[in-house]
Symmetry: C3
Subunit: 138 residues, 3 copies
C-alpha cells in the first residue's frame, strides 16, 4: 500500500522548523500500520534532519557550527548568483539530508523519545518549501 | 510484506561498532527476498554509517577527523548539559546518518564487498542504543 | 511490487557525474507508478548526492569545499594504502550519502525542478562504480 501527499511550508529565513506534527498527520491519514514513512524535500538549499526536541539550544548550536564550517560570502565560492548565502545553502544541504525515512509501528512514527523531525532552511530569506511524504507498508 | 524488529546494542563509549551480522540475521528471519532493509537509530547522539570493513585504521581515521572537525568542549557550544561531548555528539549525528537502507537481493543485503554497516557511538560514555530494522519487499 | 537493476558507471576520476537519466530509465522500465526509487552505491570511496542541476559552478564549488575540508595527504590520516586520496575518499563518502531515495509519482521521479542526482567520485583515478536501483510501490 502506498499513500502520498505533498506538504507546503513557509519559512521565515535561516533556521530549523519542527515538522513532526505534520508528518504524523500524514501517517494517520494513510491508515498504514507497519512500514516506513519517507520524506523528500524538493530543494537544494534547504534540508531535513532529525534532532533533539527538548532543548532548543541544540538547534541553535547546530546553526552556529554550520555558519562557521560554511561561512557566507566565502571568496572560495564562485556561485554567488543569489547572494552570499547561495552556495553555503547548497553545501549545508549536501552535508545534511534531502530524504529521510522513519519506521512505522502500530500506525505511528517510531521515533526515539528525544527525536524530532526538522526542516532546515539554509537561505537567509523566507522561502516556500515542498516536502513529498510517501507512506509505504501494510 | 513488512517485517520489523527492534535491536538493542550496548556500547562501551565513543567509537564504531560493526552491526552487519545482526542486520543480516534480521533479513534472514524476515524471509523477504527482494526489496530493502531499512535501519533507524532512535537517538540523536549516535548514528549509522557504511564504512570500509577490511582495515580498521579507516574507522580510526574517521574518528580522528571528526574529533578535529567538532572538538569536544568547544566554547561556541552553549548546550553542554551532559558534558563536553554532548553537543559534539549531536553535530556528528547530523553530519552522518540516523537512517540507512540497503537493497535486498536473493534474500541478502546487497552490500559491496568492502562495505560494512556500523553504529557510531558519539558519546564518550557507554550507552544502550536501539535500532529499528524494517524489512520490506516480496 | 519490487523491480531491481544494477547499473554500472565508469568515472574518469574525482568529480560529479549526472545519473538522473539512467535512474529515470529504470523507473520507466519498472512500470511502477507510485512509491519510491531507492539507490545504493556499493563502494565506500564514491557517494551519491542531490544537487542543483542548472549551474555547474555549484558542483565545482562543492568540490572546492570538500578539498579544503578533507585535504588529500593530510598527515593525520594513517590509512594511506592506496595513496593521498584514499582516506579523504572514505571521509567524503561518510559526510555525503551511500543511499538515496526519491518519491515516485505518476511513474516518474518527483524531483524538484532544480534537482539532479549525481554520483560523486572521490578518488582521483578513474573507477568502475555499481549502483543498485530498487523501485518499490504499486
Amino acid at each position: 500500500m502506498v499513500f502520498q501527499q505533498k506538504l507546503h511550508f513557509s519559512t521565515t529565513g535561516r533556521g530549523t522548523y519542527s515538522i513532526s506534527d505534520q508528518i504524523e498527520d500524514c501517517v494517520a491519514q494513510s491508515g498504514i500500520q507497519s512500514g516506513i514513512c519517507h520524506l523528500f524535500i524538493q530543494h537544494t538549499s534547504a534540508s531535513l534532519i532529525f534532532c533533539e526536541n527538548a532543548d532548543r539550544s541544540v538547534r541553535e548550536d547546530l546553526e552556529t557550527f554550520m555558519a562557521k564550517l560554511v561561512p557566507d560570502g566565502n571568496p572560495m565560492f564562485r556561485h554567488q548568483a543569489e547572494g552570499a548565502d547561495d552556495m553555503p545553502a547548497h553545501v549545508r544541504t549536501t552535508l545534511t539530508q534531502s530524504c529521510l525515512s522513519i519506521p512505522l509501528t502500530q500506525g505511528k512514527c517510531n521515533l526515539g523519545i528525544w527525536q524530532g523531525i526538522y526542516l532546515w532552511e539554509h537561505r537567509t530569506n523566507y522561502h516556500q518549501r515542498n516536502i513529498v511524504v510517501t507512506v509505504m507498508g501494510e
